[in-house]
């Protein structure tokens, strides 16, 4: 029978967990060490949400097939009027229509 845990696998997982936690707390520690934040750094940090989250979205759009692109475009249009949960529903419906209704 399989064991629950293998020592080498657990070691890699825990090392990955420590590395991940360091990224989660690292920026806070660095910023708190500074006496004051220079305006340009503040402008850069202010851009973090849009900058980072965009890098998770843009490649998904450009590497996705037409089905994914239509779904994301439909969700983008929906976002002008709707909040995030209905926006997800619109995107999901669009991708299902593209995959099952508009094929052939």
């Amino acid at each position: 029978m399989d064991a629950f845990f293998h020592a080498d696998m657990v070691a890699v997982i825990l090392a990955g967990a420590v590395a991940t936690f360091l990224t989660r707390i690292g920026g806070y520690i660095l910023v708190m060490r500074m006496k004051s934040i220079p305006p340009r750094l503040e402008a850069a940090l202010n851009a973090v949400p849009a900058a980072v989250l965009t890098t998770l979205v843009a490649p998904a759009f450009f590497t996705g097939g037409p089905d994914v692109q239509v779904a994301m475009a439909a969700a983008l249009i929906a976002s002008l009027r709707l909040s995030s949960l209905p926006m997800l529903a619109v995107g999901w419906c669009a991708v299902m229509v593209m995959r099952y209704v508009l094929t052939a």
Binding site: D2, F4, F5, D8, M9, V10, A11, V12, I13, A15, G16, A17, A19, T20, F21, L22, T23, R24, I25, G26, G27, Y28, I29, L30, V31, M32, P39, R40, L41, A43, A44, L45, N46, A47, V48, P49, A50, A51, V52, L53, T54, T55, L56, V57, A58, P59, A60, F61, G64, V68, A75, L76, S79, L80, S84, M87, L88, G91, W92, M96
Partner: protein
């Protein structure tokens, strides 16, 4: 602990929970397919709790790659959290040391985005709200990992039921939540373009850090507050 704040966090975190759940199941299924036991997959979800890096890690486990490369890859995928914890510092600095430990452990993309949005509206966020938002993502993530690991074969291809588009769309919603910010359009344009170029040249996961740094550099170089009214006009509709 403030119950009302806690449950407001739970309510706001629920859409995240729904859009992330398939990926928790996907991770569990892929983990077992790549030779992890169910217990190991759960341990990974509980201690790392960062979907993309878990999937990258599991992919590398399957390819029998050196342990330090796997750990470095996990670090690279999660590097964006350094920027998050720096940018949200003003809103959580009043947390106690223990609260900070828990809060940073639970830090994810949506947790960061909602914390900044709420923090900017109110000056800071309460630990109760933060914990409610975080736990409604964390606890189902573990349950879905186990479900995915147990029923891995049943899920099959996530594309068949269209769940693969949920995460990019959710991230898009988060981006749009910041459209009133100074320099939103130029930052999104440059980060998007650079990340796509980096994705095709340098490769994943480095495109995230490279694209993000490009957007941040641009923001640092642009002049500060111009006429905010004028700046927002073109973005509404």
């Amino acid at each position: 602990m403030n119950k009302r704040e806690f449950f407001e966090g739970v309510r706001q975190g629920t859409p995240v929970c729904i859009s992330a759940a398939p990926f928790g199941a996907l991770f569990g299924a892929v983990a077992v397919a790549n030779g992890q036991t169910i217990a190991e997959a759960l341990l990974m979800s509980m201690t790392i709790f960062a979907g993309a890096s878990q999937l990258v890690g599991i992919e590398l486990f399957g390819q029998k790659i050196a342990a330090w490369v796997i750990v470095l890859s996990i670090f690279a995928v999660n590097f964006r959290h350094i920027l998050y914890s720096a940018a949200m510092a003003p809103f959580v600095r009043h947390f106690s040391a223990g609260e900070k430990f828990v809060a940073f452990f639970l830090l994810t993309d949506p947790q960061f985005a909602e914390t900044v949005r709420r923090g900017e509206a109110r000056g800071k966020v309460s630990f109760s709200w933060y914990l409610g938002f975080g736990l409604v993502i964390y606890v189902p993530w573990q349950a879905m990992t186990v479900l995915g690991a147990v029923f891995g074969k049943l899920i099959g291809d996530p594309k068949l039921i269209g769940i693969d588009v949920l995460l990019p769309i959710y991230f898009m919603a988060l981006v749009l939540g910041f459209r009133k910010r100074a320099n939103f359009l130029p930052v999104v344009a440059i980060s998007g373009a650079v990340s796509v170029i980096a994705y095709h040249t340098v490769g994943s996961p480095w495109h995230v850090s490279i694209g993000a740094i490009a957007g941040m550099l641009l923001a640092a170089m642009l002049p500060g507050k111009r006429n905010p009214k004028l700046h927002e006009a073109g973005q509404e509709v």
